[in-house]
């Protein structure tokens, strides 16, 4: 077997025992790696409570990790979400996957709960569980300061995960967040403070010359992509390059999604940040795009991504970019998701009557992350729980309990459907229709129609499920496609596989997540948007971007269910389950 290591490390924290799982090759073929492989291990225990010690926490690499396949150094972290109760997974960058793979592991499956805070140290074949009591309570920067070396990868939670924040993140290699769904809290529940991995082996490749050829095709396509490598692209400005565009398209969620235009936006885009902070390029292992930006000064911290820039300005009414950078850094240090944190604060702000949050923003974030006040603890439960507790559930802008990112669904109907059908709740990355509705890739679609969108969303979900299983970066798929990555996959593994084979695997992987959610009672009632989007207009030229037509949305969702092979309530069917080899 090339590409894969053929081994998964299993750690039982109850007994401090480790052993090696050697998955059947068929399992690799069916689920590929990353998201797919993790799901295959999670599925039969998905009905356990997220904090049940027997609930598995999975860290998975993919077959392309550690090879010359471009942008393929990512890692999937998966478990059941404390925020939503759905399956949740994050594709995270940095060097974690690279080191794990070079250490000889396709992934790590963790169960149990350590008696005391611990760290997991993987040094090639050597596994140690070490005492981490001393670092419990430390922010992520302190942990990185203590443990990060040039030849290792470090993943750590911050105080937020320890203090029960439902959207706590896992930070990897200082600047990379496994941000969404509260995956950090899953680590905290198992008493794991950090994971350190060092790998020094080699990843075997079936046909290096063929991989080189595939790589050249992908790099050529990337170079031709204005979104990736263009003058205003993310290689130069980071994902913040999208900020001006979202403003221009009147799609910037403003004042808790009550408006879609933020008057101060023109001065708060990536160019302004570039001038003010002179950020440096930084990237994940194996990526030439290097979209991550870090501050130019000596103690480099991550520059905010687009979602953070948007939500920490327009969504909460802040006009100070310095405050955005500091809020971003604080969230990273505390280990909590910036999208959910900002969206929960936006909900709080609306409840409080549009107060000026800027003066108290950092203090509020501190209170959330440390759980030092009752308000902080309540906000740490996420917007849905907070709004319900205040008797105003309609003010939480979430899907399935996960707060919505920074693309207003009234400005892109495919995005509205994709938010609703996302298996992890309010997420832009499952189908990422912004690619064609806004960025014109692979071709432009009409963003104000549902026509054709049901199938497009289904195909895109399948594609991105594959991307997260390989485990590559979704951004490269603005330029390359499954055609080029099938060639890379075949070159690495020696399996002859086509673009369509990859998409079939993606369909299986995504359906597996629908099966897991259905097992926990999720159905069409959860595949929905907050009522605001069907009732209130956004802010375009007069009379404004209209609300989403509820009947058209439901019709598109009905089509989606049919195309996806779900029943009328959005639940998996036995026939489709069998057909996809998931019975």
């Amino acid at each position: 077997m090339t590409g894969w290591c053929g081994k998964i490390l299993r750690i039982d924290l109850d007994s401090s025992a480790t052993d090696i799982l050697r998955p059947d090759p068929v399992r690799y073929e069916k689920f590929i790696g990353g998201k797919g492989l993790a799901g295959s291990f999670l599925r039969d225990r998905i009905t356990l409570a997220w904090d049940d010690p027997a609930a598995p926490l999975l860290i998975m690499t993919g077959p392309l990790v550690g090879t010359a396949a471009p942008t393929s150094g990512r890692t999937t972290i998966m478990s059941r979400s404390p925020l939503t109760g759905t399956v949740t997974d994050c594709s995270v960058g940095g060097r974690l996957g690279f080191h794990l793979k070079r250490a000889g592991w396709d992934g790590v499956l963790i169960t149990g709960r350590a008696a005391n805070p611990c760290g997991i140290v993987i040094d090639n074949e050597t596994i140690k569980l070490v005492d981490a009591v001393e670092l419990w309570g430390a922010d992520t920067a302190t942990v990185f300061q203590r443990l990060q070396k040039r030849d290792n990868s470090v993943a750590t939670i911050g105080p937020a995960a320890e203090n029960g924040v439902s959207y706590a993140s896992l930070m990897v290699d200082r600047h990379h967040a496994a941000g969404r769904g509260g995956i950090g809290r899953c680590f905290g529940a198992k008493n794991i403070k950090y994971l350190v991995v060092r790998g020094s082996g080699r990843v075997s490749v079936h046909d290096k010359a063929e991989l080189t050829a595939a790589r050249e095709e992908i790099l050529r396509l990337a170079a031709a992509s204005p979104v990736l490598m263009g003058e205003h692209g993310i290689a130069r400005f980071g994902t913040g390059a999208l900020y001006d565009l979202m403003d221009a398209r009147r799609m910037m969620p403003t004042d808790n999604f009550r408006r879609t235009r933020f008057a101060a936006a023109p001065g708060l885009g990536a160019v302004a940040y570039a001038k003010r902070f002179q950020p440096k390029q930084h990237g994940c292992m194996g990526c030439h795009i290097r979209c991550k930006k870090v501050t130019g000064h000596k103690n480099r911290t991550a520059m905010p991504e687009f979602e953070t820039m948007s939500h920490f300005t327009a969504l909460i009414g802040n006009t100070d970019p310095d405050l955005v950078v500091r809020a971003n850094d604080l969230c990273n240090r505390l280990g909590m998701d910036t999208i959910s944190a900002a969206a929960t604060l936006a909900c709080y702000r609306e409840l409080e009557g549009e107060i000026d949050l800027a003066p108290s923003l950092l203090a509020l974030l501190e209170q959330i992350g440390t759980g030092s006040t009752r308000l902080g603890r309540e906000l740490g439960e996420g917007a849905r729980a907070f709004a319900r507790k205040q008797g105003r559930p309609e003010l939480s802008m979430d899907v399935k309990g996960q707060e919505l990112p920074a693309y207003d669904p009234r400005g892109a109907y495919g995005m509205s459907l994709a938010y609703a059908t996302s298996t992890r709740g309010g997420c832009h990355l499952r189908a990422y229709p912004i690619s064609h509705e806004i960025l014109r890739k692979p071709v432009a679609t009409d963003r104000f129609t549902f026509s054709g969108k049901a199938r497009i969303i289904k195909i895109s979900e399948d594609l991105n499920a594959v991307v997260d299983s390989l485990t590559a970066c979704k951004f490269i798929f603005f330029a390359a496609g499954p055609e080029e990555y099938a060639r890379a996959f075949s070159a690495v593994t020696g399996m002859t596989i086509t673009a369509q084979d990859l998409l079939e695997a993606g369909e299986r992987i995504y359906y597996q997540e629908r099966l897991m959610n259905a097992a926990n009672g999720f159905d069409d009632r959860d595949d929905d948007l907050p009522a605001r989007f069907f009732k209130e207009p956004g802010s375009g030229s007069a009379p404004g971007t209209p609300p989403v037509d509820r009947a058209a949305f439901l019709e598109a969702r009905r089509k989606y269910y049919r195309i996806r092979g779900l029943d009328a309530q959005g639940r998996p069917t036995p026939e489709k389950t069998r057909q996809l080899g998931l019975a």
Binding site: A224, E231, D462, A499, Q500, K559
Partner: protein
Amino acid sequence: MKNLVDKFARKIVQAGLADNPLVCGLDDELVWNRSDPAAPMLAQVVANMRINSLICAEPAEPYRSILRFLCRNRPATINPQDCETRTFLHDLPVTDVFSADAVLSRLRYRKSVIICDEDKVRVISFGTVSPEQAFVTLSSVCFSTFVLFFSRLLEQKRAGSLDDHALNLCERIRPLVTPPARKPPRLATGPFSSIRDAAAAMVEAGRQTVNLGLVDSYFGNISCRLEDTICISQTGSSLDELARCIDPCPLDGSSCTGITASSELTAHNEIYLSSTCRTIVHGHPKFVVILSMACDRMNCPNRGQCHVRCDRARFIEDIPIVPGEVGTGPTGLCHTLPPAIRDRRGAIVWGHGLFTTGKIDFNEPLAGLLAIEQMCRRIFFEEIGATG
């Protein structure tokens, strides 16, 4: 979906790619632009792929004859070396069996398949987001095989090994590829002082560039410099449908809205910053591309890498030919084109297309585009010596 299916069926005919294409689109139900005996078989293809649209077309002449000629020895693939194929299609699979299995086995790994059986030549392509992708692929297949056929012919002629069959075909289709001489239409006169005026002029110029056959509708790009802004066509926009597809990009780089601008924005910027020109048009005139690929240095160490490594100062008359790939990579045309086009009426990028500039409006670059293509066609046929 039916609207899109019908739209692209019409565009295929308008572009002269096929006379009676079969186009389908799929959301939850399959819709066709028309009925056809092949529809059930093609529906099987669609059902076995993760796609949302498909085009099956018997290409119009001269593409049909060219494809039949290129398929005469039953190759598994055709491998054009032009920029579009190299970058986006990689190679063109071929089969002589018009069946669901044969089509599927090719479409599962490539964007198109050419089916050349005894009766017909067909091209099938698909989209995952829109029939537009299938249209673009069909257009690229026709463009790239056209360029391949004529550039090989020129190569053979220069090597003294002209294939009689190829020459016969060339003579037969010459009337189809040699339209009567046309004068460029009069376009809006500049200079333009507002984004609105510039955009209107760009829409008009883009449409005429397509009408004159100087670019397939999807390709090419066009821009206009105002005082401190460059208006440029968006990436993946059709030059004949530019309304609402133009990005105003501040020259001082104060905004990132140009993230959706053409992949050649950097090249356009550089040209404006190093010259006094006000307009740029980039098309893919076929004979310009064909001549750009014909180099007689058979023993050149860079042969096979001409598109990125050509180090020779090559010209067609006064028009320079430079290497360079799409976009901004280390071998991108943004590094080679701007210095080459300075003080010239145009410059050619190897295997890709032609850029022309204007000092005031689009009359000059459009006329330049047409004149240079006509010049290249004349040179080509003079060199080939075809008599048709």
